[in-house]
């Protein structure tokens, strides 16, 4: 069922950077596991394996089929999130997990990816030159339902992240300037409302971020210790398994949210730059796939998934480096977490899917200046 040409169009650089990221993350988790006292690296390897299988599995079918199933996907998302609400497992005050007995899944993670598919298919279908506010209320409504469900868990970070992904796709769809300004104004007006919605611990985090020295042993502890960990790595790091901040448990959540912190501590500026560099290389490759996608849905899908990974990376790294308040957003692939790994890898699978099927549009005209025409109802390759 695979066309040989499919693999000719494989982006090997993308795959290579992905493997490098996972390899570095595995090494890092080895050390973090020693600090956390539980062999997370092996479980993560398990997730990598399952995720990779799924990633290649996703290549089998044509991504374009997804667009027509968007309503099913949307309903699935809502049902999952409702399930969490009613039968979810509660860990430290947040009800985010569904227990399947042997594993705990985090539907909000999957929701991110699924919402990318939903929004992308919306924009693919409602094709417009530019979008105004009047055109956006429908997708916004689509997005707000799961966002509110996620925020209710409570998981403000992921909820805002989904909004961020939506905003990125709106940008990609081209927003009217006037609409942009109006949304900006509304967003600023909504901020006090958001503040009201926040739980006390969330407010405290923002306060601490604005004034980190106000409570070095209490709420400011995490950020302070993370900054110390990163900074103390200096240029070449303290060495593998030798990060005192992490190994002596001064760093919290060293295997999940603060995984980049221990990496920077043990491998220094050099190591941090390598990981971040590879990651950004990976993201730029993804963007170029979005750029070169032959159809609107594919392009939106890739851009949305890239945005999903990028925002998580940016928020997590900025949090670890003390540039942002503490929010529970993992660094994709690097932080331990099954749902996150699966979501990310399936997402990358979709990106590859789009890339692989690029040539399917080219047909005979390959190598020549491409003909640009609308392939309206006749499906693919109808030249």
């Amino acid at each position: 069922m695979f066309d040989k040409r499919l693999f000719e169009d494989m982006d090997w650089w993308l795959l290579l950077s992905l493997v490098v990221i996972m390899a570095l993350a595995f090494v890092n988790l080895w050390s973090a596991s020693a600090a956390a006292g539980y062999p997370f690296q092996w479980k993560q390897l398990q997730w990598y394996t399952i995720g990779s299988v799924m990633m290649f599995g996703v290549l089998v079918f044509d991504y374009r089929k997804l667009a027509s199933y968007w309503i099913h996907i949307y309903v699935l998302t809502i049902v999952m999130l409702l399930l969490v609400m009613f039968v979810g497992k509660s860990v430290s005050g947040s009800q985010r997990w569904i227990s399947l007995g042997f594993i705990n899944l985090q539907p909000s993670e999957f929701a991110k990816l699924l919402m990318v598919v939903v929004i992308s298919s919306f924009f693919a279908q409602e094709d417009k030159e530019q979008y105004g506010l009047a055109d956006l209320w429908k997708p916004l409504l689509l997005v707000l339902v799961p966002v509110l469900l996620i925020v209710k868990q409570p998981d403000l970070g992921t909820g805002l992240l989904v909004l961020g992904i939506f905003a990125s796709l709106v940008y990609y769809a081209r927003l009217k300037w006037t609409s942009f300004l109006i949304i900006l104004g509304m967003g600023m007006a909504a901020f006090p409302l958001l503040w009201k919605f926040m739980k006390p611990y969330q407010r405290r985090r923002v306060e601490i971020f604005l004034n980190p020295e106000s409570d070095p042993f209490g709420a400011g502890w995490h950020v302070l210790q993370s900054k110390i960990a990163v900074g103390s790595g200096q240029v070449l790091g303290k060495g593998f398994m030798k990060g005192t901040q992490a190994q002596l448990n001064f760093l919290p959540e060293v295997h999940t949210d603060f995984a980049f912190s221990i990496w920077s501590e043990e491998w220094g500026f050099a190591g941090a730059m390598i990981l971040i560099g590879v990651y950004f290389f990976f993201l730029v490759r993804c963007l170029s796939i979005a750029q070169n996608a032959r159809d609107r849905f594919g392009s939106f899908l890739v851009f949305g998934i890239t945005a999903m990974i990028f925002w998580q990376l940016l928020i997590n790294v900025c949090m670890v480096l003390g540039l942002m308040p503490v929010v529970g957003i993992p660094l994709p692939l690097v932080s331990y977490g099954g749902s996150s790994v699966l979501t990310t890898l399936v997402g990358v699978g979709l990106i590859m899917n789009v890339r692989l099927r690029r040539s399917l549009f080219q047909g005979k005209e390959a190598g020549k200046p491409r003909l640009h025409y609308r392939d309206t109802a006749s499906g693919i390759g109808g030249s």
Partner: protein
């Protein structure tokens, strides 16, 4: 493969459900542009993160590295053992033994009131004291424990250790503490340790100490603080976020303080303190051959250990009793009229100035009239015809009134100074008093009155303005014993003897005085018969110093203790080769012969017992004195 027709897709029927639009050219260019913008945005974010990493890890790296080390590396101070203080034959006067201190680290204590309410029942210490210590420790770093109980009993330690889990911030430290194996001996000389004050730390003189440390505050402990204290070491341990020790990084062992050997003889010191038996007074014994201090006892004593744990109000009051003055080292700080012991100086002056000779006599009928005043001899009936020998042996006042009149105040003062009175001996102890040798100028400066002849008479028998310390007396009698050399009193063993001055008196005169002083002890009428020791030739001179004027007092047994005379005695032995010189004062002890001489006798007897080899022959005591006139 692109030249091949797209047969794969062509063969397959298009999926009808896939109805997606390909981009037209305009749209494609737009996506392309938006993607490139996004890539630039990504690049900016990458630069932002890189810049932040550069700032944290490269620019601020050293700072954060230090922070992480401060996080994980805790330095535990290892207290040095304080040097021992030994006597002249190496016996331990003050040593160290480990003891338990209980402290509170305020940083970890949290709710202090709740902690104290739990802690106080476990301590056998008044709650007020604990709180006072916490108040006193204001301003010291919060990570250092405030010691609230030193030298805690083992039972207290066990009780607290068992409940440590519910006493956050409470620490039990093992710390070396001073031990006195022979009890509290010579506390005035050895001094004591007390917690270093914040002011002292600021002064920079105690750079080796940290808050909570004990430092020498008095006596030898203070004088040789840096030598005795040693150098503290440290143990650096790695701790995790909960403060549990993970491993020892490195250890620098503390350097034990240097031992200090004193010239004090433990046996003699014990004998002196026992003989004083708590009566206020002082005993000083010197080796007349080199000025080494053998005994320095001041009474009443204090317990040097109580200062370490902070004094209670009652203890402080007791230490500052205005009559007993336990804190004053009476051996160097007590100033007394020397009484008749001064007649030794008078005799030397008289002989040296040729105003009297061994043969010159005066008639004593019990008093002497000068102008309208009558100056009494202590013996009401008088001594009759008296020569110098008899005058010294029986301590005739009238003889020395006459001698004093012939000498005049200036010459008496010159000789008094010559014997080292009226100025500090230079012993290496803080707080030594100079005493006072009066002169005409001094009298005029002080009272704006000229010197009176009657004052010369009082002066001649060691009364009036003249003031000496027991140490000065001991040195004075040492000079008589050793042929006129004034040594600097020295209490550190191994230091060479330091000759300060020679007494300006002919050796023959001193020889005669030695002979006469032996008579004071040995003769039937001698005033110091109580100091006789079989098999040893002892020489001495008693003294009885009036505390209030003779006219005011009644010779009455019921007289208030504090109006009684001070009893003094100076002695040396053996006469043929003096090796020990002793000065004793018993405040308000009454007569020198009955109160002070037995104390000196106890010390000299002890010395005799210890001396090796023992003298086997009892030399004829008159044999060494040339040209002595047969006794009257």
């Amino acid at each position: 493969m692109n030249f091949q027709p797209d047969n794969n897709t062509a063969q397959k029927p298009p999926d009808t459900r896939i109805r997606l639009k390909r981009f037209d050219q305009q749209n494609e260019e737009l996506r392309s542009r938006l993607s490139i913008y996004a890539s630039w945005f990504l690049f900016c974010c990458f630069c932002l993160i890189s810049a932040r990493l550069w700032y944290l890890q490269v620019m601020q790296g050293a700072y954060f590295r230090a922070q992480s080390e401060r996080n994980s590396i805790k330095s535990i101070r290892l207290q040095p053992y304080r040097g021992n203080i030994l006597d002249r034959s190496g016996r331990l006067l003050a040593g160290v033994e480990p003891s338990f201190n209980i402290g509170i680290v305020l940083k970890d204590a949290g709710d202090l009131e709740a902690l104290l309410s739990k802690l106080e029942p476990l301590l056998d210490e008044p709650p007020m004291n604990v709180r006072m210590k916490l108040v006193a420790a204001k301003g010291q770093p919060a990570y250092l424990p405030v010691i609230i109980k030193r030298n805690a009993e083992w039972s207290t330690v066990a009780k607290i250790e068992a409940r440590l889990y519910e006493l956050p911030g409470v620490v039990v430290e093992v710390a070396p503490s001073r031990q006195y194996p022979y009890g509290k001996i010579a506390p005035h000389l050895l001094g004591y340790l007390a917690e270093v004050s914040l002011d002292q730390l600021k002064s920079g003189k105690f750079s080796h100490a940290v808050p909570g440390d004990l430092v020498g505050k008095y006596g030898v402990e203070a004088k040789f603080e840096t030598q005795l204290a040693g150098k503290s070491g440290y143990k650096r341990v790695e701790v995790d976020a909960r403060g549990r020790m993970v491993r020892v990084v490195d250890v620098k062992l503390p350097k034990t303080g240097q031992d200090l050997s004193l010239t004090i003889d433990l046996d003699l010191q014990l004998a002196a303190e026992e003989a004083l038996s708590g009566r206020p007074g002082a005993v000083v014994a010197l080796d007349p051959r080199n000025g080494q201090l053998l005994v320095m006892a001041s009474s009443p004593k204090f317990d040097p250990a109580i200062f370490a744990n902070g004094l209670s109000r009652e203890e402080w009051k007791a230490l500052n009793d205005p009559l007993l003055t336990p804190l004053v080292n009476k051996a160097i700080q007590g100033q007394y009229a020397p009484g008749s012991t001064f007649k030794t100086v008078m005799a030397a002056a008289g002989l040296n100035e040729n105003v009297v000779s061994q043969y010159s006599t005066f008639f004593c009928n019990g008093s002497m009239k000068l102008g309208r005043r009558r100056f009494r001899c202590w013996k009401k009936g008088g001594h009759g015809k008296t020569d110098l020998y008899k005058a010294l042996v029986q301590s005739c006042d009238v003889y020395f009134y006459n001698t004093g009149l012939k000498l005049g105040v200036d010459r008496i003062s010159r000789y008094a100074s010559g014997f080292g009175l009226g100025k500090k001996t230079g012993i290496d102890l803080p707080g030594e008093k100079a005493g006072r040798v009066p002169t005409r100028e001094w009298k005029y400066r002080r009272f704006r009155e000229p010197w009176q002849k009657g004052e010369t008479l009082n002066y001649s028998i060691g009364q009036g303005f003249l003031m000496v310390t027991p140490l000065q007396l001991a040195r004075m009698i040492s000079a008589v014993a050793n042929g006129g050399m004034l040594y600097k009193p020295e209490y550190i063993l191994g230091k060479p003897a330091e000759k300060q001055a020679r007494v300006p008196v002919k050796p023959q005169a001193l020889a005669f005085i030695r002979h006469a002083l032996e008579g004071v002890v040995a003769d039937r009428h001698g005033t110091a018969r109580t100091c006789r020791i079989p098999d040893l030739r002892v020489a001495g001179k008693t003294g009885t110093a009036q505390v209030v004027r003779q006219s005011k007092r009644k010779q009455d047994e019921k007289m208030a203790w504090r109006f009684k005379d001070h009893a003094l005695f100076v002695a040396f032995a053996p006469v043929e080769d003096p090796q020990i010189a002793v000065a004793v004062i018993i405040e308000h002890g009454g007569h020198g012969g009955s109160a002070a001489a037995p104390v000196a006798r106890a010390v000299i007897e002890r010395w005799l017992q210890l001396r090796s080899p023992k003298p086997t022959t009892f030399l004829e005591r008159t044999a060494s004195v040339p040209g002595r006139k047969p006794r009257v």
